[in-house]
């Protein structure tokens, strides 16, 4: 057993203080300690993106971050983006455009797409594909994921223009 350390994390706006070994992976902290099972464990080798969360304004693969590295960080998971009663626009457009089949990759897809649209609110299809290249889906063939993200972008832009 390694020495435990005091770690603070702000996750979806809530501050958590935990005592953990530094080698604990952030994905396990989120899923097992905090009960946030939206981020999934897919490949566990930083390829598939199912574990993607937003950390300090960047999309990261939580299977490749030690919890010690995340000490003091602000993290957003899919649970922080929307709820069953109040879906995030990306969650809704993924549903409307059939951007998922089995759904395993979806939380990572949407969390990544959320950051992508903050950085580039009006992406081309090519920019969406390039910006989503760190997330693998083995069902959809990506076509409808791309459609859903483009639809969310145009909806968000229309809403902003109206405001």
């Amino acid at each position: 057993m390694g020495k435990k350390m005091q770690i603070s994390l702000t996750v979806n706006g809530e501050v958590h203080y935990i005592l953990a070994e530094p080698r604990e992976l952030l994905i396990h902290t989120l899923r097992e300690r905090l009960g946030l099972t939206g981020p999934h464990i897919g490949c566990e080798t930083s390829h598939c993106g199912a574990c993607t969360v937003d950390m300090n304004g960047r999309s990261v693969k939580a299977c490749t971050v030690f919890v010690a590295q995340a000490d003091g960080a602000e993290i957003t998971t899919i649970e922080g983006l929307g709820s069953p009663d109040g879906l995030h626009v990306l969650q809704r457009t993924f549903r409307e455009h059939h951007g998922l089949q089995c759904g395993y990759c979806t939380p990572g897809m949407i969390t990544r797409a959320h950051r992508l649209l903050i950085e580039n609110p009006n992406p081309t299809e090519e920019e969406v594909r390039f910006g989503m290249a760190g997330n693998l889906c083995r069902c959809t063939g990506y076509q409808n994921i791309v459609k859903a993200i483009l639809a969310a972008a145009s909806e968000m832009n229309a809403k902003e223009a109206a405001e």
């Binding site: 530094p22 080698r23 993106g49 960047r58 989503m132």
Partner: protein
């Protein structure tokens, strides 16, 4: 996949980081973005007693752009490098290459310093830095020293950096002329089957100067002086390119692995170098 236990350190400045390295010797290892080291630790192919996280060392951050030289702090991420317009204008091949590294998530955390210091022949920046004639600053207990990228790589994961040194900064001369970084990979996130960095200047319709480096085709990056020499004084036509490719093939030493047998890698290396020369020439 849980790594073996380690003690975690997050020094706030370079002096403290160096102090921890000196105190724990070969039990200590620095971590930048960690996207090479953490997977190795999870597979228990790397075991670290004391992990020294450089994320709070301000001296390792920042990009400077001057007329003749740019410098990049070791902890600058690939994403920060890509989004820096001044840098992209001064040394455009950096952005072109960085956009071909891994995927967006990895580029947010993966650093330039980690990429060059790790000594992994699959990394794109070492060959690129040799092409650009970059210099690395290494700081150890005895102070700083500067090492040319072309003299930094000794073998697989073996570099000029001593265990008690930290690579802090990369200095890159600003080059005139055309550039290209071409990479062939099996899929997003993979290392290159072959990649080529090319810089060319043109004078009177001929190549005035050239620099050529190849990635993942030996246990070290390959800066091919012979390939560059084959281009100088010529028009970059088919014959000159064929001579440059032949010279490059004599300098590389690819090994068979899951990216293909040796003959295939040599074939891809030739195709990729040909494309890189053509594109650099079109921009020269």
């Amino acid at each position: 996949m849980i790594p073996s236990a380690f003690e975690y350190h997050r020094p706030g400045d370079l002096a403290s980081a160096l102090g921890i390295l000196s105190a724990y010797g070969d039990e200590a290892r620095v971590i930048a973005g960690g996207h090479s080291l953490i997977p190795m630790m999870k597979l228990r192919m790397a075991s670290v007693g004391h992990l020294v996280d450089l994320q709070s060392v301000a001296e390792l951050r920042g990009i400077t752009v001057a007329e003749r030289e740019v410098t990049i702090g070791a902890m600058v991420t690939q994403a920060e490098l890509i989004s820096h317009d001044g840098l992209a204008k001064a040394v455009p091949i950096l952005r072109e290459a960085a956009l071909q590294i891994a995927d967006p998530q990895v580029r947010y955390v993966g650093t330039v310093g980690g990429n060059v210091a790790n000594g992994d022949p699959g990394n794109d920046m070492p060959g690129l830095m040799q092409c650009l004639d970059a210099r690395f600053t290494l700081v150890g207990p005895g102070g700083p020293r500067e090492v040319p990228a072309r003299a930094f790589y000794h073998g697989l994961y073996a570099t000029e950096r001593a265990e008690d040194e930290i690579l802090t900064r990369i200095a890159i001369p600003v080059h005139a002329g055309g550039h290209a970084y071409e990479k062939q990979k099996r899929k997003i996130g993979d290392y290159a089957t072959a990649a080529a960095a090319v810089l060319l200047t043109k004078s009177g319709g001929k190549v005035a100067s050239a620099s050529v480096a190849m990635t993942n085709l030996s246990d070290v990056p390959v800066w091919s002086e012979a390939a560059a020499a084959a281009l100088v004084g010529r028009d970059c036509g088919a014959e000159a390119v064929a001579d440059a490719v032949a010279a490059m093939l004599a300098d590389i030493d690819p090994q068979a692995d899951n990216r293909g047998p040796i003959a295939f890698k040599k074939h891809v290396a030739g195709v990729i170098l040909g494309r890189a020369i053509a594109r650099a020439w079109s921009r020269a």
